[in-house]
Assembly symmetry: C2
Homo-oligomer: 405 residues x 2
Amino acid sequence: MIAERTGLDLDVARVAVRSASRDRNVTLADGVLTTDPASVVNDPGVDVVVELIGGIEPARELLSSALKLGKPVVTANKDLLANYGAELYTAADAAGVDLLFEAAVGGGIPLIRSLRESLAAEPVRRVMGIVNGTTNYILSQMTEHGTGYHDALAEAQSLGYAERDPTADVEGFDAAAKASIIATVAFGARVLAGSVYREGISGIGPADIAHARRLGYVVKLLAIAEQVGPVEGKPELAVRVHPAMVPGDHPLASVRDSFNAVFVEGDAVGELMLYGRGAGGRPTASAVLGDLIDAAGNRRRGTCTPIGAFGEPVVCPIDDLESEYYINMEVLDQPGVLAAVAGVFGRHGVSIRSMEQEGLGEQARLVFITHEATERHVQATLGDLRELEAVRGMPALLRVVSQGS
Amino acid sequence: MIAERTGLDLDVARVAVRSASRDRNVTLADGVLTTDPASVVNDPGVDVVVELIGGIEPARELLSSALKLGKPVVTANKDLLANYGAELYTAADAAGVDLLFEAAVGGGIPLIRSLRESLAAEPVRRVMGIVNGTTNYILSQMTEHGTGYHDALAEAQSLGYAERDPTADVEGFDAAAKASIIATVAFGARVLAGSVYREGISGIGPADIAHARRLGYVVKLLAIAEQVGPVEGKPELAVRVHPAMVPGDHPLASVRDSFNAVFVEGDAVGELMLYGRGAGGRPTASAVLGDLIDAAGNRRRGTCTPIGAFGEPVVCPIDDLESEYYINMEVLDQPGVLAAVAGVFGRHGVSIRSMEQEGLGEQARLVFITHEATERHVQATLGDLRELEAVRGMPALLRVVSQGS
């Protein structure tokens, strides 16, 4: 089908694997399989290198060699791109060959190509993505069936959606790596995974989800990359991963199960959403194949998809960002508590949009939604609230997503 | 920004307009504006031609000339592509230059590029799109506010969503042209607008929408292109536009207002949806600019995005397609009517999944949902039902969208 549609006759020349003896249910000619990846990259018969190893080394060294040899590279390696993307982009640019990575974010969703090519001229304002299927599955179970976090996680593990050690997913590391790649491509700016603010979902309780729901919101783990303004001619970006309350009629709110979606707001294009399977062998393979066809066709035509210029952005610390907040705290059920709590909000200039008392006695809770406030002031408010005798335990906090302007 | 991101210095060399005297709120150098479009195409200083005239002539002749002169073309002209696409694709292919048309379907949604490039290797099974914003606005108003068809149309007209003569939108001609382009690109097969089965929304009443809703469905005008099987090695496609009942939890069900979305089902990629503003000056401009950057970059590198091979498909007539059906008819409220009606269904082998009587006396209606049945048999059933004395007026019919397998 590929030959018929594209005129390209692709041939799997060499395949490097960790174990050559494992049964893989594919037939390869003798000598194709090897356990030495460097021999594949260096083989003069290999024209395009596809990397699906994952992790930093040896992928980093292998891809650097491939690019230096003038071989186009297709990769699904989000960690490598999020941490060493700049050196790879530079190497690809210097060699004038393709470095394509559609499968690194959002599996089979054609996000990277859309951002790099279709929206090349679009002044993108904000990109918000549900880019981790495991956490979306967990949050969807909690939302739709009232399941607790630990039960939903166990379910995700038994379905193979979550790893035995789920940290990379549930603490937002996976989403943060993807956020850095999205920010890099959407804003033409080098953003490393380490500069992405990150919060996971392990602190979210069924009560938070139920409250959000009652207020018309759905809780989602979002990767957000946003232009907050130019600083001395450089783009100032805010890039972060945290659970957030999404308005129920927002297109991201209906992204359920383990699906991924990325919502783009641009000055000209308006609102755009790309939705699909963000992981899994077949969707990932579909994205890799699309890139491979592109790379092989470009190679034959002696050209490549330009990488584009990536500037150094100013990354705005989360403390300076503004948002509405949901704050939920256990309190002693006695007179004067609300006044004391409201006083703390007031001292930090955080203004309250709505308040609700929930439960009585031992179960008493106060649930607040603030007006737009600065993270720094909200965190200071929380710090002081913890000192109040009337406040028991740690207040829970969720940021509320504003509708695009 | 374009120069900075892409290294391309684009210059608006010539602009052909119908009236040179109209105030356009842009400043152009002397001699740029002309009323002679051929002079723009033939100007040796023009490297890329952008066509935003619409309609068949003179666009067809102008673009043919441009391609023959070896100039890449960017166009938003859906009617031209839907009727004369084959000759333009052939001309572009022969000249080895780009023919890009992202803006022709779905405005700013990166659909065409995704189908042509990202999904180049994807065995696409079905594409279902809400590709006409006007009808989606009308149906959304009817669904959410119980508005009647004529009031919703008048509202769409007053908002500028619908033309004074709304035929092209409400009778599905616009969607059919887009369906033919989608089918061509998704399946690599030449499908002309004339071979697209087409039904509009002007026959939909608030009662149909209310029934659908009660049964858990939303009514949408869909453009559907589907592979139904290969016939003697050629793809057999079914391409059609008609209102349909979409399950309430399907991603297309939540596409409201004048938004567009295209839902793709592929063997490897699974389910994919692209959502956004399908019309309007700015989203369209965003898509045109993305294409223009691509075409200009390719021209500088002496290459082009390959058009791909387009075979002649076998187009499956709607009569041979299978679906579940919603059928709603006014009946005389008297004993024996249901037996007579059910008898007609039975004689044509159309089996009934559910039946509901609505209203009494003058208002009595029967509402059926069938099991999967062939269009031919359902149409024959309707024909016979009309002959029954107990059935008053024309039964209404809606096809029910199946969840992807």
